[in-house]
Symmetry: C2
Subunit: 488 residues, 2 copies
């Protein structure tokens, strides 16, 4: 069906920049024009989450919390501040974080006796408590999470939601009787992330990080790297098997089923909520603003009455009837009967990513149908009044499927195999995600980074990929197949 003409009107403001041409400018503009994030707070790395962002944040938080709680995690809340003495107890961990922490040193006009760290992550806050809570195998597994902001003094250029000095996340802290329990938890964490990211329509690589690239204090680290439209990847969640590193440093022990005193094996799982929001915006958005699946935008369906001349009453009463009908069917529907022009309304709700818009004018009243506009494809279709609720229900699934398929198609198109150093250099120049045999040496990864800007992100763990030759970069025997990408 052709675009609506006289009675619809066109967007009152120019579209956003082309995402494919300049993702950075597109992103900055959509954050501002969709009133998501205000970057003018005046402290580097700290931004204001406006209601249109905060509503999505709250929904994403509750999606993850529901999955975590369904698998036996309980909510808790640890203090923001960590005493210096605790922070220093796990040596690798402190080395990994000490250049990144904010310190509270004064209060009420006087210096504090002991400096306090503002949490960059909460291992050093919870392990002293675990030592108090865990005594016997009956206290295990212990599975806790908190939904909080954390603080890291990033010295690189900050970017709203992507890299900030304050960011929102969920962190779990779990303890088990043995390695087996902890490793099963890693699998479960990855499953939690997969379920939520799939219901957000994101595309991702699930990888085990290379040994030299682990979380400070971990035995092994696993990550979700989302693909951004410019071909870079963004780490949106990581889960870590910590072995006994932290239970040793913080003297956490339990008496096992045989009466022996042992140390629990632990895990932690960090889910980047700010970054998930960034990935959601960037993956699906277009020149007209956000594109979101049902359940994330401020409304799922917006009804725009299009009134001309004397037909107002029939149009408005039909619009109200549809609002009631869809509301009763369980959709988050909104009738926009404000005084703005239809064009202004189209612009606003498209910018906010409302998945379905219903246009109701004289023709729709007379014809017993509704003009339905779906945000993901920007296509219009006629739907008979009697079919509307059913069709909207279908679209909840279709739109998500479409967004997810698009994202995965882009990921599949992006991945290319490199057999030689020349391949790596060329594919990096083309901005592809590179799959290659890799020797596993840190020095080799460092050379790749220096020459191409690409990082070795790790080996995929959701598929079984075995090296079939030598390291694409150095030619030594390959240990595994890895993915290389430019990382945010």
């Amino acid at each position: 069906m052709p675009a609506r003409s006289s009675d619809g009107g066109s967007a009152p403001e120019a579209p956003l920049p082309d995402k494919a041409e300049d993702l950075g400018r597109w992103y900055d503009e959509v954050l501002e024009r969709a009133e998501l994030i205000d970057v003018r707070y005046g402290v580097k790395g700290f931004v204001v989450y406006r209601p249109n962002a905060m509503r999505i944040v709250k929904r994403v938080y509750s999606m993850f919390e529901r999955e975590l709680e369904a698998r036996g995690h309980s909510p808790m809340l640890l203090p923001l501040v960590i005493p210096m003495a605790n922070f220093r107890r796990e040596t690798e961990h402190v080395k990994g974080f000490e250049d990144q922490v904010f310190y509270i040193t004064e209060a009420g006009g006087k210096p504090l006796n002991e400096k306090l760290i503002v949490r960059p992550t909460s291992e050093t806050a919870i392990y002293p408590m675990m030592a108090l809570w865990i005594h016997s195998y009956k206290d295990l597994p212990l599975k806790l999470y908190q939904s909080v902001a954390v603080y890291r003094y990033e010295t690189k250029a900050t970017r709203p939601l992507l890299r900030g000095r304050e960011f929102l996340w969920i962190e779990t802290h779990d303890a088990f009787e043995d390695e087996r329990g902890a490793l099963a938890q890693i699998k479960e964490d990855l499953e939690v992330a997969r379920r939520v990211y799939e219901s957000l329509g994101l595309a991702f690589l699930v990888v085990e990080r290379e040994p030299y690239d682990k979380f400070p204090g971990a035995e092994s680290s696993y990550a979700y790297d989302a693909l951004l439209p410019n071909g870079t990847v963004l780490q949106i969640a990581t889960t870590h098997y910590l072995g006994e590193h932290f239970t040793r440093a913080f003297e956490v022990t339990f008496v096992d089923r045989e009466g022996n005193r042992r140390r629990p094996h632990t895990t932690c799982f960090g889910i980047g909520i700010s970054r998930t929001l960034a990935a959601l915006i960037m993956t699906h958005g277009d020149r007209y603003g956000l594109v979101l699946p049902f359940g994330l935008s401020v409304h799922d369906v917006v009804i725009v009455p299009i009134v001309q001349g004397g037909s107002a009453e029939g149009v408005l009463s039909k619009a109200r009837r549809l609002e009631e009908e869809l509301g009763a069917a369980g959709f988050n529907v909104h009738l926009d009967d404000s005084e703005d022009t239809p064009g202004d309304k189209f612009y606003r709700w498209e910018m906010l990513g409302v998945p379905v818009r219903l246009e109701v004018g004289r023709r729709e009243v007379e014809g017993g149908y509704v003009t339905l506009f779906r945000r993901d494809t920007r296509e219009r279709e006629r739907v008979a009044d009697a079919d509307l609720a059913r069709r909207v229900g279908e679209l909840a699934r279709e739109i998500l499927d479409n967004l997810r398929r698009r994202a995965w198609d882009r990921l599949a198109e992006s991945v290319a195999d490199a057999r030689t150093r020349e391949d790596v250099v060329r594919l990096a120049r083309e901005g592809r995600i590179i799959r290659a045999n890799f020797c596993g040496e840190e020095e080799c990864a460092r050379a790749i980074k220096e020459e191409t800007g690409y990082e070795v992100r790790g080996r995929r763990i959701d598929v079984d990929e075995r090296p079939t030759g030598n390291c694409a970069w150095c030619g030594r025997p390959a240990k595994r197949v890895v993915y290389m990408a430019k990382a945010y």
Copy 2:
């Protein structure tokens, strides 16, 4: 019905101290034994919220958020840190808070160029943003809230949930075209608090604070003071009419309907979530632990099978049937089929305040009934199987009504009129809440505090009480009837 005998068993641990005799000791013990709060974190004024507390916290947050959003508030999130320069802009406000703030002065091992305040409240964070967001009367009203922790360097003795250096709250920041809009918001805020506090069964005084006792930077302040069982009151929510104080200091203006540039009138509303939890624990709890209305404990109904000898299967299958039936009826029900003794189970679920326990043993299977134990009165009753869902539904209302009535009866019993200084001294010694004529002078309030420890909490605004004589303390003409109490 008499207490259950052989097959029920008694609580395996001694009851808590008597709340009436030693509220402080009762409180400390219930926090520990119900695993609500861990005070052993090691930084004064900072505590760990364990899952049993955090679940209630999350529910109380969402009760308030729902009421706020239903009345046009939108969620947002401001940074934790406030630049010194912003903090200093409203003079009364900075005077009120400067002795209480934590400062971040270093990061990544180096001093920061500008010290950052850790938010004690967020007026000085949001007003510079309001200046960017508000241009025209069309941008008003602006009604925003955030659910966060705030930080105040309390030098008085700290007490978990009651007075901490980190506490959880909701803060709203609202802007209106004029005083009328702002004062209507104050009424709405008080209504939001009333609705939630009533559904928590709390008893409270709603008062306007005396002029010298306002929030720093406010024109007038209104508070909810909850009654605690020891006769003291606890401020659990306050809303403030800020006039143009902050919009003047932060240069927030808008163009009104007539084209004139004016300053918005603003309000802010602070809802103490940590303190609401404390009031909930203290108001309803008893020697067996928490007592909670439906919707707040980890479960609403717990089923305890009581198995003796060969009857296990009949008992368990009935217990499972009841669990399914009540679950289908929408109750949060849990079948405790763990290996613990019935006595252990009774103890645990009573400690956590689960409102209804169902005991199912051989007699119940044979008799076609259930033994229902309600936590608030600790009474048992027989309920025919066919009546169970209906009866549990009734109890959701009855238990809340009973808790609320008890709380309000205690408040009504506590209030006593003082006509003279001797009355005030005597009633303060008796621990009553005092209603008295008051001259309105700060010096008089200070004298009362010095001699009796009592504070003038303000005049009630939910009823019309007029002074009928002179100030009970100084004998000068009275301006209003006020309530005096020992405040937490």
